[in-house]
């Protein structure tokens, strides 16, 4: 397509190599984009479950899940609406740890994450294993705020951030792909920011 008349781009400084195509650095801002009211979840009744194609379905309370081996992520996050945040620090537990305790069955190929708000999102199993995904409850040393998905959200930072379900309640292991909330509404099933997989067909 042609050049936009008069547009040079605001910054001619070298582009940060950490930014995928079409993304901009949001700096200190952290935009909030959700489709539903922000829930206030009670830690006393909060739970996280792993269900579906596993040997042992698991349910953890807030205290129980904090007794598992801690894990952290330092790096970048990318939202499909084109903002990225660079150099973030998240803490929580690795999804590998949770899946190992549940025992993933050989037929499992995908997961469907669901939230306490009934939001869902689908991911290939290969994208939430191998040290690539977390259940995160702390960011930059502070508890994760409600508007950012607190008390705990899924964190899959190598994919667009709608995959990192806020207020996540569990993972269902599936032997097939099952599109989630945004995916049935035109968003991409995988969402790799480096391939600009924003919408179905990208």
């Amino acid at each position: 397509m042609g050049v936009t008349r008069g547009f040079l781009g605001r910054s001619r400084a070298p582009r940060d190599p950490r930014l995928p195509p079409g993304q901009y650095d949001a700096g200190t801002q952290w935009p909030v984009l959700t489709a539903e009211p922000t829930p206030a979840l009670d830690l006393d009744t909060w739970s996280f479950r792993v269900t579906g194609s596993v040997d042992r379905e698991q349910t953890w309370s807030w205290d129980e899940i904090h007794r598992l081996a801690p894990s952290t992520y330092e790096g970048d996050i990318h939202c499909v609406t084109t903002w990225s945040k660079l150099g973030m620090h998240f803490a929580g537990v690795s999804i590998d740890t949770l899946l190992d305790l549940a025992g993933v069955r050989p037929e499992a190929t995908h997961v469907l994450a669901w939230s306490h708000t009934q939001y869902t999102t689908n991911l290939p199993l290969a994208d939430v294993t191998g040290g690539q995904a977390w259940l995160a409850w702390e960011v930059d040393g502070q508890p994760l705020l409600r508007e950012h998905g607190g008390p705990a959200r899924l964190l899959v930072p190598h994919l667009y951030f709608w995959k990192s379900a806020k207020w996540v309640a569990g993972l269902q292991l599936l032997d097939h792909d099952e599109p989630g909330f945004w995916e049935v509404r035109g968003y991409h099933d995988r969402g790799d920011p480096w391939l600009e997989q924003r919408y179905q067909g990208d």
Binding site: M1, R5, R10, Q29, E36, T81, Q118, H148, Y199
Partner: protein
């Protein structure tokens, strides 16, 4: 409450074709006018027409000679029509690379890359009661819904409550007011306004939440949280409220 993915209440509400891929096209700016000192409406002619649903948005992409691109999403303000033209209202943000360019540089006759329509959740088809609650520039997708209701002769289906800082900050000021709309002023109101100025309050929404109405809330994150908290306080089930929010937290 702990619910599984099979309980997703929205699953059955997706329209056929909602996941149809959307292609880029080069639209032509055929009109523009200011809504407020910081908001401008752009009328775009689409070479590949599409009929959007009220509440949907499009992506606008700018391309520099060296291939650099910047894109942002903007809500469609016009009601669904024959698909050949749409209107976008763009708030100028101080640090907004795309919105600043659109305000400062774009004139009638310019070409803009657009893609859409996008979004299958914050949409209203005019066939069921809706309560539209907007803050500031959050009125834009709600205006598409109000215009749809008026075009269909079904203003009985819709009530709108819009909160703005002062009278000069109201978008669509010549068109929006009517018996089905209420404008709230948070800082300065007109001298004859009986409502004390201030942010949205429970009494501003009381009486509008009965009868299975679906609330659509759009605005900044702070406004959206305040409005949804008020609605829940008035007895609306949280999962009946549709929210579109924008803007950062620090």
């Amino acid at each position: 409450m702990d619910v599984g993915p099979d309980d997703d209440p929205a699953g059955g509400r997706v329209e056929p074709g909602a996941n149809r891929p959307t292609a880029w096209q080069t639209a032509t700016v055929v009109g523009l006018h200011d809504e407020t000192p910081s908001a401008r409406t752009f009328r775009l002619s689409l070479p590949s027409p599409f009929i959007h649903r009220a509440g949907q948005h499009v992506v606008v992409r700018l391309r520099a000679p060296d291939g650099y691109t910047a894109s942002r999403s903007y809500s469609v303000a016009s009601a669904p029509g024959d698909g050949s033209e749409i209107e976008l209202t763009v708030e100028r943000l101080a640090e907004g690379e795309v919105s600043s360019f659109l305000h400062e540089e774009v004139v009638v006759g310019d070409a803009l890359e657009v893609r859409g329509p996008i979004g299958g959740w914050f949409v209203w088809d005019g066939r069921s009661p809706a309560l539209l609650v907007g803050g500031g520039s959050g009125v834009v997708p709600l205006m598409a819904m109000l215009r749809l209701a008026r075009a269909q002769g079904r203003v009985d289906q819709v009530r709108m409550v819009v909160s703005v800082r002062d009278p000069g900050a109201l978008y669509y000021a010549d068109e929006l007011p009517g018996p089905e709309t209420t404008v709230l002023y948070s800082r300065h109101g007109p001298p004859d306004d009986p409502r004390p100025v201030g942010r949205i309050r429970s009494e501003d929404l009381a009486g509008l939440t009965r009868g299975g109405v679906t609330p659509y809330v759009c605005g900044s994150s702070g406004f959206a949280d305040a409005a949804t908290d008020l609605l829940v306080g008035l007895g609306v089930a949280p999962d009946h409220i549709r929210v579109e929010r924008f803007g950062p937290t620090q």
